[in-house]
């Protein structure tokens, strides 16, 4: 009774210039946005969107391109954040070293976990990743001596060679740069032989392995990659906010990431960016309306998935193409 996921539509028209244009537009937006942001609060919102976006792109590599569902990704974000916090606060490590150590530790954990659970598929994989995320969040809540418990712990600013990074404006450039870098890397990965191998996995793992692709290794590699990206982001965002609590690794945060990927469009990098913008901006608009924000979020999720089942960007692109070419655009193999 399992439904095989749809393979991503082959991008006949995706050309090198197309990618460059998209990238240039993104860079322009990141560079020029500060001119339009009136105060530090707006920078904060922009930073949160950037964090969601980078996380979303990384998760999209896992979910969209290789079709592995992960309902526990915020757990890795939390590991990175707490790893950095504990190493800098309790052990006095430098911020950079702590970040690298936390990322490495998370990568190892992700590798170990991936080796055992990536044989699962569909709902079983979802359940296993869900369990992992919750276990991480429970450990973070209970080990009060290290983590400060459910009330959380403060984190110092990020210092590099004696210079402390602080303030929304400076961090904006850090996260903005990170976003552009991630998009470039992700696009390169997808258009490389490795990337095409990943997409083949999504279509049919049996066919891919028949074609000579080492399915197991590739899946693990992508899982570890997206977990490590999440951890790095967790570390940086811990230093940025100055205070963390176990909620950042919780189930609802993992769900938020999945929503970004699925809403924006699986296998669509720009879709994840759109998803991040929506998920970052919507709570701000709905901030005063208790109860209704939950309802509205839910309605948006349900309605979007019904009418645009492949996510906003891919579905809209398909329809636009149909309008342009006067027929049902995009074939599926």
């Amino acid at each position: 009774m399992t439904h095989l996921p749809d393979a991503p539509t082959p991008r006949r028209e995706r050309s090198y210039t197309g990618r460059l244009v998209g990238l240039a537009a993104l860079t322009a937006i990141v560079a020029l946005l500060p001119l339009f942001l009136p105060n530090a609060f707006y920078f904060d919102v922009a930073i949160r969107i950037a964090i969601l976006a980078v996380n979303g792109v990384a998760l999209n590599l896992l979910m969209g391109y290789t079709g592995q569902i992960s309902l526990g990704h915020a757990g890795f974000f939390g590991l990175g954040a707490y790893g950095s916090a504990v190493l800098t606060t309790h052990f006095g490590w430098s911020s950079l070293l702590a970040l690298l150590a936390a990322a490495a530790l998370t990568a190892v954990i992700a590798w170990g976990v991936a080796r055992v659970i990536l044989r699962l598929r569909g709902h079983y994989l979802a359940m296993a990743t869900l369990g992992l995320g919750i276990i991480i969040s429970i450990v973070l809540t209970n080990e009060t001596a290290w983590t400060g418990g459910p009330d959380g712990m403060p984190v110092d600013g990020f210092s590099l060679f004696g210079f402390t990074l602080s303030g929304e404006r400076r961090w904006y450039w850090v996260f903005g740069g990170l976003l552009i870098g991630t998009v470039i890397l992700a696009q390169n990965l997808i258009d490389s032989p490795a990337g095409r191998a990943l997409q083949a996995l999504h279509g049919s793992e049996t066919a891919a392995s028949v074609a000579g692709i080492d399915v197991g290794r590739r899946k693990i590699a992508v899982f570890v990659l997206s977990a490590t990206v999440a951890a790095i982001l967790g570390s940086l965002s811990a230093h940025y906010s100055g205070y963390i609590n176990p909620g950042i690794a919780g189930f609802m945060q993992s769900v938020e990431l999945v929503i970004i990927v699925v809403l924006g469009g699986m296998a669509s990098i720009y879709g994840s960016l759109l998803g991040a913008v929506v998920m970052g901006v919507l709570p701000q608009i709905l901030a005063g309306y208790e109860g209704w924000d939950s309802v509205l979020f839910g309605v948006i999720m349900v309605v979007t998935m019904i009418f645009l089942p492949r996510g906003v960007v891919p579905s809209l692109t398909t329809r636009l193409r149909a309008v342009r070419f006067g027929r049902k655009g995009g074939a599926t193999c």
Partner: protein, 291 residues
């Protein structure tokens, strides 16, 4: 020592009966439509909340409970018609998002309409605990166990002996074949949601006297029900029963003998182990894929 163990077992079994009802709901919907219904916990909550409000408004207790279950069933049917049926052929991830969205809608609406407070129900047959070999159990717990067993029996009869029930089973084996022999698949899907919601709501109504209910009570119960169903084998009725009881027992025994702080991690560690060693669950059938 023995009475302590017995107490743990009794609380475990009471917890387990609740998880079992939640898990049955999950399995039934999964069986009929392949959908994991993340809103199952909210059906449990709606049943409890509806019954509680009706009872507080003056309705006699038995009527309020039945009405609560029926309201939840109605909600379940509407959810299927409006949210799940239109997305029937979407990917697994998309449907997961839809059911999560439904759970947020149900929680939000309950919060707006019925407030954030906790609500209770009177115990069905008094609160005097029953002493048994040094341990105690509440009469309400016996209700949970008895009604749970009745429901399992009833479902067995339904699926085995009635035409509609067999139609549901047929749809779960092969939707196309069932259509070909004349089963109205659309009705079957709606019915499975109505039934699951109703069963979950029965559980909700039964435990509200013991633990109160609020707009967010459904989240944990739904999650644990999902875990229990996976432990026993998604889509397997006996699996849900076994998974629920097993989960409740393990939780109580962990809290009693090992560490109460980590008892919440136990279900997830367990399910992790089970999924690694035997992904189809302890009682489930091995899944096959068409290439």
């Amino acid at each position: 020592m023995l009475s302590e163990l017995l107490q743990f077992i009794l609380s475990g079994v009471t917890l387990g009966a609740m998880y079992m009802l939640s898990a049955l709901g999950f399995s039934m919907i999964y069986n009929a439509s392949g959908v994991i219904n993340f809103a199952q916990g909210e059906f449990i909550m709606v049943g409890g909340m509806a019954a509680s409000f009706l009872s507080a408004a003056g309705m006699p207790l038995p009527l309020a409970c039945v009405a609560g279950v029926m309201i939840a069933g109605l909600v379940g049917g509407l959810v299927e018609r409006w949210a799940v049926a239109p997305a029937r052929d979407a990917e697994v991830a998309s449907v997961i998002i839809i059911t999560i969205g439904v759970s947020m809608i149900l929680r939000g609406l309950t919060e707006i309409l019925l407030g954030k407070g906790n609500h209770g129900l009177p115990h069905f047959s008094g609160e005097a605990p029953i002493k048994f070999l040094g341990a105690t159990i509440l009469p309400q717990s016996l209700w949970v166990l008895a009604v749970g067993a009745l429901i399992v029996l009833g479902l067995n009869l339904f699926f085995g002996r009635t035409r509609i029930g067999k139609g549901v089973l047929a749809t779960s084996y092969d939707r196309l074949a069932a259509q070909l022999v004349g089963v109205d698949v659309r009705r079957v899907l709606t019915l499975s949601f109505v039934l699951s919601a109703g069963i979950g709501a029965v559980g909700g109504v039964l435990i509200t006297p013991m633990s109160t209910v609020a707009y967010d009570t459904g989240m944990m119960l739904g999650l644990k029900g999902f875990v229990a169903a996976t432990l026993g084998g998604l889509g397997s009725g006996p699996g849900a029963v076994f998974g629920g009881l097993f989960l409740g027992l393990i939780e109580a025994l962990t809290a009693g003998y090992i560490s109460s702080a980590y008892k919440d991690a136990v279900p997830f560690v367990l399910v992790f182990i089970v999924l690694v060693l035997r992904p189809q669950g302890l009682l489930g059938a091995k899944p096959t894929d068409r290439i």
